[in-house]
């Protein structure tokens, strides 16, 4: 309430956010990349990545977060994720079937580089979900501001 000029929450929240937000992002990326080995995967990791940006926005205000990832960029990333997923599926035609796991044989099981196209699909889903969820959050916030102006 005191610092009306500076957007966002108090100094304590900001400091804690500065410390944790990177960790949250890293944890999200970890979950995405290990999606084929441990619980989690593209959707859960994408949500965590989106949450790190939402966290940033809550603590520092709208502008800081939008400078890192603007709404147009988010929607472009979202479409790219969807297209990537579709093209991975289409590449399966190389093996003869739609969605065919065409290099499943490479790599040893339970390694990071294994499971063929599943990690690729996870990354695509993560892009789609992360960017999409962030865009949804921004859109809902913009609604609120629109109403205040009136």
């Amino acid at each position: 309430m005191e610092n009306k000029k500076e957007p966002g929450m108090t100094l304590i929240v900001k400091t804690i956010t500065r410390l944790t937000v990177g960790l949250i992002l890293l944890y999200g990326i970890y979950i995405v990349l290990h999606g084929h080995l441990t619980p989690g995967g593209g959707f859960a990791g994408g949500v965590i990545i989106a949450l790190s940006f939402v966290h940033l926005m809550l603590a520092f205000g709208r502008e800081t977060a939008l400078k890192k990832l603007s709404q147009t960029k988010a929607s472009i990333l979202e479409s790219l994720g969807a297209l990537m997923f579709l093209s991975v599926a289409l590449l399966g035609f190389l093996g003869g079937f739609f969605f065919f796991n065409f290099f499943a044989q490479k790599g040893t099981p339970f390694d990071l580089f294994s499971a063929g196209i599943i990690p690729l699909c996870n990354i695509a889903i993560c892009l789609k979900v992360g960017a999409g969820l962030f865009a949804i959050f921004v859109a809902l916030i913009l609604f609120k501001n629109l109403k205040k102006k009136e």
């Binding site: 619980p39 339970f110 809902l140 609604f143 609120k144 629109l146 109403k147």
Partner: protein, 112 residues
């Protein structure tokens, strides 16, 4: 058996909330309850007593696992539920802009 009936009771509570409440936000919450009751039911179908999480790790035998298929399906259903809920919240905000109220009985310009 009683656990499945409790799921159906939860389903009916959600349905009651959708049908009887007048506030739009409460209706959306009711819909959430309906969806989660169904999801819970679906997961419970695949559950067995003393079952383990269906994750294959290194040097582990496939023993006593719960059915993984309902869990995957429920995850999909949850994502769909997320999309519908977000859409409805956005619509609710817009409706509030247009009508100035969350009361569903006052939002009735369409008739006949």
């Amino acid at each position: 058996m009683s656990i499945y009936i409790l799921c159906l009771v939860l389903f009916c509570i959600g349905l009651y909330c959708v049908l009887r409440k007048r506030n739009i936000i409460k209706i959306i919450i009711g819909l959430g309850i309906v969806e989660y009751a169904v999801n819970l039911f679906f997961v419970l179908i695949g559950y067995q007593r003393y079952g383990r999480a269906p994750i294959l790790a290194k040097e582990q035998k496939i023993l006593n696992m719960v059915d993984p298929l309902p869990q995957a399906l429920v995850l999909t259903a949850i994502v769909i539920g997320l999309a519908v809920t977000v859409f409805m919240v956005a619509i609710a905000i817009r409706l509030y802009e247009k009508y100035g109220t969350f009361d569903i009985t006052k939002i009735k310009r369409l008739k006949g």
